[in-house]
Each structure stands twice: as structure tokens, then as C-alpha cells.
């Protein structure tokens, strides 16, 4: 299989971005964008379509099995994980860009620290021992699976960095606490939920389609809205 990778590159935050086209060939039908990036970086002799040396393409990866969220980027116009994007599904050429809603550090690396800042603003931690039983156990499991990759924020029409609305990447972890924290200590959390999560979401569920962890976002939304807005706990 032969494919042309069109990578949006930038030496550092302030540098001018440019697209570099790199031909890549592989026999491995399971090869992903992550495979290609790793192989290109491991071979210092790689040249682009014009014969110019490619050098190291900067990107982040860790698990290589779609479990850590490190390698989120925009591939063929869609935010997804590089280690989950099979080249065989990409056609003859594919555009690879960093996530667009976060500040770029270099090449495909963006600074996603706003995700973690927002969770801090939400005060997401257990104030008291958790009490999860029955259905809440399943909800807590689902809500613990978020990778903090940022794909959902990239696609969301209502989210931007620094805005009041914190998006799905905060809705999911908040659901964990709403379902497991005792009622008595939830007042602040409910207030924060209404302020930063409930109001801003248009419920188009574009986020659900791109979530690489396949999290049941609508299920969690219904559940958390019931608790935080309607004060109803589903047994």
C-alpha cells in the first residue's frame, strides 16, 4: 500500500506552518498513522515528495493501543487517535494536522493543559468516601474511562479554550463524582455542573461520534442532568 501523508508542520509555536508531503509505503494492512510516524522518525534518511530530508516529526504517543489519548490529532479532517487510524482506510492521501483548538507546541503536539485546568475549576475530587451501589457502579465505570484526549472538544461547536463551557471531556469525569459522591456534599458540584456543563451543550452529540473510547456520552449526560439539574437519582 502506498499513501501520501500531508503533514501540517511547524518547528515551534511561533514558526510559520507548512504542509510537508511524505510518500509512505507498507505491506502491513494493520499499519496506522502512528506506525507511519514512528517508522519515519526511526529512519533518519526519510525524504519528502520533493526529496528534502524530513527530520524528526514531533508528536506524542505512549500506549499505541488507543488507551492513553496521547496521540490525538486531526486525520482526514476528523479528530482521532493516530494509533487507531488505519492507513488502509485513509485512501491515497491523507491530511494530518494537530488538534486546532489548542495552542501548538511543535508539529503535531498541542498543549492540552486547559483540559486539566477545567477539571480543577470543577473541583473534581472525592470530598468524602464514595458510595456506589447497583446501577451507579456501571455508571462510575463508564465515567472513569475518559482518556482526556480532547477529540470531543475539537469537534464540539460550542467549546473553545478558555470558555465557560467545559465540554464532554469534563462532563464524563464529573459524572463519576455525581454518581458516587454522597448527596450531602454535592451542592457545589451540582452548581459547577449547571454553570460549566449543562448550559453550554446543544446535545447534537457530535462528540459521541468521535470519542475514541466509545464512551456512552448520552447515557452519562442523561444521568448527570437528572442528578445535577433535576435532582433525581436513578436507582
Amino acid at each position: 500500500m502506498r499513501i501520501l501523508l500531508e503533514i501540517l508542520r511547524r518547528e515551534h509555536a511561533g514558526a510559520k506552518p507548512y504542509v510537508q508531503c511524505i510518500p509512505y509505503e507498507t505491506d502491513d494492512a494493520a499499519a496506522t498513522v502512528a506506525t507511519a510516524l514512528r517508522q519515519i522518525n526511526a529512519d533518519p534518511g526519510t525524504v519528502d515528495a520533493d526529496g528534502a530530508p524530513v527530520g524528526e516529526i514531533r508528536w506524542e504517543c505512549s500506549c499505541l493501543q488507543k488507551k492513553c489519548g496521547a496521540c490525538a490529532m486531526v486525520i482526514g479532517g476528523v479528530p482521532r487517535l493516530a494509533c487507531d487510524a488505519r492507513l488502509s482506510e485513509c485512501g491515497e492521501r491523507v491530511r494530518i494536522e494537530p488538534l486546532r483548538k489548542f495552542p501548538v507546541i511543535a508539529d503535531l503536539i498541542v498543549d492540552r493543559s486547559i483540559l486539566f485546568e477545567n477539571l480543577k475549576t470543577m473541583q473534581l475530587w472525592m470530598q468524602e468516601a464514595a458510595a456506589a451501589e447497583g446501577r451507579a457502579v456501571d455508571t462510575a465505570y463508564e465515567a472513569s474511562r475518559c482518556l482526556q484526549c480532547g477529540c470531543c472538544l475539537e469537534i464540539c461547536p460550542n467549546w473553545y479554550a478558555g470558555g465557560v463551557f467545559f465540554g464532554t471531556a469534563a462532563i464524563v469525569p464529573t459524572s463519576r463524582l455525581l454518581t458516587t459522591l454522597p448527596d450531602a456534599v454535592q451542592k457545589e458540584l451540582r452548581r459547577a455542573y449547571r454553570k460549566h456543563l449543562y448550559g453550554g451543550c446543544g446535545k447534537s452529540l457530535a462528540c459521541r461520534k468521535v470519542c475514541p473510547a466509545g464512551i456512552d456520552i448520552d447515557g452519562l449526560l442523561v444521568n448527570s442532568n437528572a442528578i445535577a439539574v433535576w435532582r433525581r437519582r436513578r436507582k
Binding site: A31, P44, C63, Q65, C83, W125, A132, S144, Q148, L177
Partner: protein, 525 residues
């Protein structure tokens, strides 16, 4: 109060950070990437604790016995007794942090895991590590908001600061800006295993390059049992790595077979009747190696007889994963599996209080040689990381605090000999050489050849030099341990030798690696 500097934000680093936070002691939590991306999120099958919720009369003492036997008596018995004694409380604490462990009517369900005679492994489906990490990350956030934990989450360890043989701080680099800072104070390493020595060949993450261990080894920190690598019996190749098929697959009833004369032979059940498919990992991996050598073809993991309920409640995530990567439905079809490098029992040498040989330097988690001896039992490593991180923090609270102002790190342009990374052209041959000597079955000839080949390489920068020394320590440890024990199997010395029931100690001094053996302490209590 001066901040404690923790390198690594996986289970061990987080556990240490929240322990310090709860005591009101500030720390830096330094990692290449945020906690969500640490290897700990990959852990699947579960965490061990003798909670005895299954009515089998399990006790911490039995957990101790299994851990010692599994590690073929090469672990420090006092440290292991601490670990197994502390395990139930660790798991209960995780529960109170909201970890939704699989539950029965009244309490947690525990599952069978390799090398253990009792059901002792608490789990959350087959994503236990991820779910525990989420809870601990939330807990750490509490102390972040209070200013006690200060994260430096895109920062690389460069080297220790040292004075008169003591560790006096750490130099780190901000990978985003490229700038460097020196942080004076006590240092705790929680930097994970040495996957980077075997690129593409391990089940773990690319973040754990082994560079931290290599650098501190070159700076005088001793290594324990560097030859002890764990090959996990059931892994499958996916692009760029070996993917683990959790031991829980066998814990829930999966069986291994090979075709012998066209017939399925469930060899573990016949050759190792006591624990069968759930024998310790070293035993399973080695048996697979030998039956394959004799009968050819692949070993298969057969899960086709597992009941529907098990797939739904306990292994749903595993099934999805196998279907995604192998296009095989494990419910209806056996999957071909192979041994893959999974865990490093060896690493930085610490005492039971997690002190290294350098005053001011502590270590916990997979980067250490602690708790697992010659073979780690499944479910004991998350426990070791959580317990070890906490124990290390407690030691630091007792003796490692320093009255000095808490300063913001000052990052500046500061060239360092360790700036240049090891090049792919160096990493690859080192990995090939290590694999040629440190397979599942080893011998003196291959180890000598590997050491010779290593000596002919030409490192071109400081990182490559460090990596070379680390590789040498592993091979020398394997050569000098002229016996077979746990994961270290020498076909030229197939017997266990009781005079070698000692820790292999490797130190780097005067530009050379020296290997000696240190007797193990007696059990005190």
C-alpha cells in the same frame, strides 16, 4: 518546606504524591506526559489483596507465601510481608475513592490469577489500571488545587544533582520549551520499567524509555537483579508493540493448547497439573517455548467455552480489543498467542523502606527491584506500585524533609551532555543484542557473544553510553547467575542453586559495570 521531587506520575508516583499531600508536604509531580498517558492505565486484570471475600479463608500470610514462592525466594521477605499485610487496606482505600470494583451481592468479587492458590485479585472488568488511575488522579487533584502537588507534566528527567555521593536534587527539562531547571531537594523515582531497551517488543508504553534508570545507574545508583525480565505468555503482535491478552482470560477459564499430531493438546494441564493454565508466568512462558520447539506451530488460547455471562460482565473490553486488532471473535475461535516482554522485576535496588544506595534518593514502582524476586505474580505489580509509592513517601516524611524555602523552578537555556537522544541507529542493535542473550532460555555462550557484541558498539553521546552500561549490567547479571530461577532459565545450569539465593547487585564505577551477589535478609516477623 522544600518540595519533594517525584519523577513519574503513574500509580507509584501518584500514590506517593497523595501520601505527601495528606501530610501537608508539597511535591513536584514530574512526568513526560500527564498521568492519563502513563503505562499504569494499561493494567488490565486486577490487583491482589487477601480480602477473603470469597469464603476461602485467604490471609495476608498466604499471599506472602504465594508471592515468595512465585518469585522463587529472591524477594526481600520483610518487604513482601509489609506489602501483603498492607494490601487489603490499599484496596479498601481505592474503593472509598470510588473505584467501581466488580462486586457480588455483599462485597468485592475476587478472581483467580496465576501462581496463586486463592481467589485474591480484585478487578474492574479488564480495565482495572485505567479505572484506578482515574480515581487516584482525582484524589491528586485535590492536593493540586491546594498547591501541595505541583505538576510538571511535560518534563523530562535529565540527571541527578549530586554532592559528596549524596543526591541533592534533580535536573529536568521542559519538553515544550526545551529549557532546563535544577530543583534542589529530595528525589523519588517512580519512572516505570525499561521498555525502551526493547522497542516494539514489550506490552508497555513508549514513554518508559529506560533513560532514567540508565542515567542514575551511571551516576552511582545500584541495580538489583537486572537480569530478571518477565515474559508474559499471552501476547499478540499489533503494529509497533506486543499487545497483552490479560491473564484474567485464563483466570476466567481460558486454556492453552498446541496441535500435537493434529490433535489439540492442553499441555499446561498435563505438564503442570497443580496450577495448570494458571501456573506462574515464567513456568507458562517456558513451557510454551519448549512445546513449540518440539511440535512446531503456534500456541493457542482457547476461550470458546467461557459462559456468556463472563464475557458480558468480566471480559467485555477484552473481547472488543481482540476483535478490533485480530479480527477474531475469541468467543468462537481460539487465538494464536506468543510470549512477550511484559515486566521488569529488576531495577533500582532499594531497601524495604524504598531507599536507594544514594542518600537523598528514593525509588518505587516498576523502576525498582522490589517485591517480585525472580518472577512477579499477576496483580502484584499495581499493588507494588501503590504500596511502594506510599511507603517511600512515608520514609521521606520521616527522614527526607528539608527546611528550605519552596521555590518556583527557574527554567533557563542550559546545555547538558544528556540533551542529545540515543539515536535509532544505536537503540536497534542494543535491543537485538539484548534479545539474543536474554531470551526465555539462556546460556553462557549466547551471553558471552552478546557481551562481546555490545563491547564493539560505539556510543556517540552520553545517553548512548548510559544505555550501553545498563545493557551490560543486564547481560552480566544473566551470565553470572549460573543457575535457573524464575524468569531466568539457563539451559546450561537448569537447576536452582541455593548458594545463589541472593540479589544480583550491579554498580557502575570507574567506567565499568561490576556485578556481585548480596545475601537476602531473614524474615523478622
Amino acid at each position: 518546606m522544600q518540595r519533594i521531587h517525584i519523577i513519574g506520575a503513574g500509580l507509584a508516583g501518584l500514590s506517593a504524591a497523595v501520601t505527601l499531600g495528606a501530610a501537608g508536604i508539597p511535591c513536584h509531580l514530574i512526568s513526560l506526559q500527564p498521568s492519563e498517558r502513563a503505562q499504569s492505565v494499561l493494567a488490565e486484570g486486577g490487583i491482589n489483596a487477601a480480602l477473603d471475600t470469597m469464603g476461602e479463608g485467604d490471609t495476608p500470610e498466604q499471599h506472602f507465601q504465594d508471592t515468595m514462592r512465585g518469585g522463587v525466594y529472591l524477594a526481600d521477605p520483610n518487604a513482601v510481608a509489609n506489602l501483603t499485610g498492607g494490601a487489603p487496606e490499599i484496596v479498601r482505600r481505592l474503593e472509598s475513592l470510588g473505584v467501581p470494583f466488580n462486586r457480588g451481592e455483599h462485597d468485592l468479587i475476587l478472581r483467580n490469577f496465576g501462581g496463586q492458590k486463592r481467589k485474591r485479585t480484585a478487578y474492574v472488568k479488564s480495565s482495572t489500571g485505567k479505572i484506578i488511575m482515574t480515581a487516584l488522579i482525582d484524589e491528586a487533584r485535590k492536593y493540586e488545587a491546594a498547591g501541595l502537588i505541583r505538576r510538571l507534566p511535560h518534563h523530562a528527567f535529565l540527571r541527578l544533582m549530586k554532592e559528596n555521593g549524596q543526591c541533592t536534587g534533580v535536573r529536568i527539562r521542559d519538553c515544550y520549551s526545551g529549557m532546563t531547571a535544577d530543583l534542589p531537594g529530595t528525589v523519588l523515582l517512580c519512572s516505570g520499567g525499561m521498555n525502551g531497551l526493547f522497542p516494539g517488543m514489550t506490552t508497555g508504553t513508549t514513554q518508559n524509555s529506560g533513560d532514567v534508570t540508565a542515567a542514575v545507574f551511571a551516576q552511582g545508583a545500584a541495580l538489583g537483579n537486572p537480569e530478571m525480565l518477565q515474559y508474559h505468555p499471552t501476547t499478540v503482535g499489533i503494529p509497533g508493540k506486543r499487545m497483552l491478552v490479560t491473564e484474567a482470560a485464563r483466570g476466567e477459564g481460558g486454556r492453552l493448547y498446541i496441535l500435537r499430531g493434529g490433535e489439540k493438546w492442553y499441555f499446561m494441564e498435563e505438564l503442570h497439573p497443580e496450577l495448570g493454565n494458571l501456573s506462574p508466568r515464567d513456568v507458562v512462558a517456558r513451557t510454551m517455548y519448549f512445546v513449540r520447539r518440539e511440535h512446531g506451530g503456534s500456541v493457542y488460547l482457547d476461550m470458546t467455552a467461557l459462559p456468556e455471562d463472563t464475557w458480558q460482565k468480566k471480559l467485555s473490553d477484552l473481547r472488543e480489543e481482540i476483535e478490533h486488532y485480530l479480527a477474531i471473535d475469541p468467543k468462537t475461535e481460539p487465538i494464536p498467542v506468543q510470549e512477550g516482554i511484559h515486566y521488569f522485576m529488576g531495577g533500582l535496588d532499594t531497601d524495604a523502606e524504598h531507599r536507594t544506595n544514594l542518600p537523598g534518593l528514593y525509588a518505587a514502582g516498576e523502576c525498582t527491584c522490589q517485591y517480585h524476586g525472580a518472577n512477579r505474580l499477576g496483580g502484584n505489580s499495581m499493588l507494588g506500585a501503590l504500596y511502594g509509592g506510599r511507603r517511600a513517601a512515608q520514609t521521606i516524611l520521616r527522614e527526607g524533609l528539608q527546611e528550605a524555602p519552596d521555590q518556583q523552578p527557574e527554567f533557563r537555556e542550559m546545555p547538558d551532555a544528556l540533551d542529545a537522544p540515543a539515536s535509532p541507529g544505536f537503540i536497534r542493535p542494543v535491543s537485538d543484542i539484548l534479545l539474543s542473550g536474554l531470551g526465555i532460555v539462556r546460556n553462557e555462550q549466547a551471553l558471552d557473544a552478546a557481551l562481546g557484541a555490545l563491547a564493539r558498539l560505539h556510543p556517540e553521546n552520553a545517553r548512548e553510553e548510559n544505555r550501553l552500561a545498563l545493557a551490560q549490567a543486564m547481560l552480566l547479571g544473566a551470565r553470572e547467575r549460573r543457575e535457573s530461577r524464575g524468569a531466568h532459565y539457563r539451559e546450561d545450569y537448569p537447576q536452582q542453586d541455593d548458594s545463589l539465593r541472593k540479589t544480583t547487585i550491579a554498580v557502575f564505577a570507574d567506567g565499568q559495570v561490576h556485578v556481585t551477589f548480596r545475601p537476602l535478609p531473614e524474615r523478622r516477623m
